[in-house]
């Protein structure tokens, strides 16, 4: 293998930083979900990379679990976005303020 572990970890760090930027700056609910997806994928990349370089198989198993849970999370998150859109007729999170008291 010509690529070292550090290369994969650096790509994962870059993706994590971009995801955090998206979650911090964007006010569109769907774009915030994009950020969450990027963060989850960088975590998966880390899991598989470390599992390759140890090497053992449990990292890959854990990555599979993580992908499945992330799929469930996206389903519920998008359903929440649809409900919020029906209530507020908008997907700007600054408008979702009925919990604000």
């Amino acid at each position: 293998m010509t690529n070292g572990l550090i290369d994969f970890v650096l790509v994962s760090v870059a993706l994590l930083a971009i995801g955090i930027y998206g979650m911090a700056v964007k006010r569109n609910a769907i774009r915030m979900l994009f950020g969450v997806e990027m963060i989850i994928n960088s975590a998966n990349l880390n899991l598989v990379a470390f599992a390759r370089f140890i090497p053992n198989s449990q990292g890959q198993t854990l990555a599979l679990f993580s992908i499945a849970i992330a799929a469930a999370e996206v389903a519920v998150g998008l359903a929440l976005v649809i409900v919020a859109y029906r209530m507020y007729k908008n997907i700007d999170i600054e408008d979702f303020r009925s919990l604000k008291g």
Binding site: A17, I18, M38, L45, P55, S57, I67, A75, I82, D92
Partner: protein
């Protein structure tokens, strides 16, 4: 040293991640997110994990990205192209992103991870199936229940007819 395939994959992944967040139209944004997720699947292939790569392709690119695309199409048209954000918050976010990249990157480059190479053969993916069906089988069952519960929850949330907004202030 990295090879050309790795470089091309990382440019594709990170570039389309930035495009997904910054492009004006949400539809093109979700397509760019699809490219990012496929790039991650390519990294899994480079890491000799073909099973995880195929799982990633089928779950993320096949279902999650399509789900996002359909949700985007349910939203009103002018909201898709509408991009409202604070200038100050945007600069602060870019600063936070660069600080995270440089900070964590410097820590990782300075650590002993740099010399970590491997010549050992990759794990056979039969081992993953054995893991799933022996040691991790209770977790697999719990995961199946979680998936079923989340799908039922999402359906009931999205199909409710009695949602009203009484607290709307305007």
């Amino acid at each position: 040293m990295v090879d050309a395939v790795f470089l091309a994959l990382s440019v594709l992944t990170i570039g389309s991640a930035i495009v997904a967040l910054e492009i004006r139209s949400l539809i093109y944004g979700s397509i760019a997110l699809m490219i990012t997720l496929s790039g991650i699947a390519g990294f899994f292939l480079l890491l000799d994990a073909p099973f995880v790569a195929m799982f990633q392709l089928s779950v993320y690119v096949g279902s999650v990205a399509v789900l996002i695309l359909f949700t985007v199409m349910l939203v009103r048209r002018e909201l898709i192209f509408n991009k409202i954000e604070d200038k100050r918050r945007r600069y602060a976010g870019i600063g936070l992103m660069l600080a995270l990249m440089l900070g964590i990157g410097m820590i990782i480059i300075g650590s002993g991870m740099k010399s970590m190479e491997t010549n050992s053969p990759s794990v056979d993916y039969k081992q993953i199936g054995q893991d799933f069906l022996t040691y991790y089988s209770p977790a697999l069952i719990v995961m199946a229940l979680v998936l079923a519960a989340s799908v039922v929850g999402a359906l009931t949330l999205a199909r409710r007819e009695d949602i009203t907004n009484d607290q709307r202030v305007n």
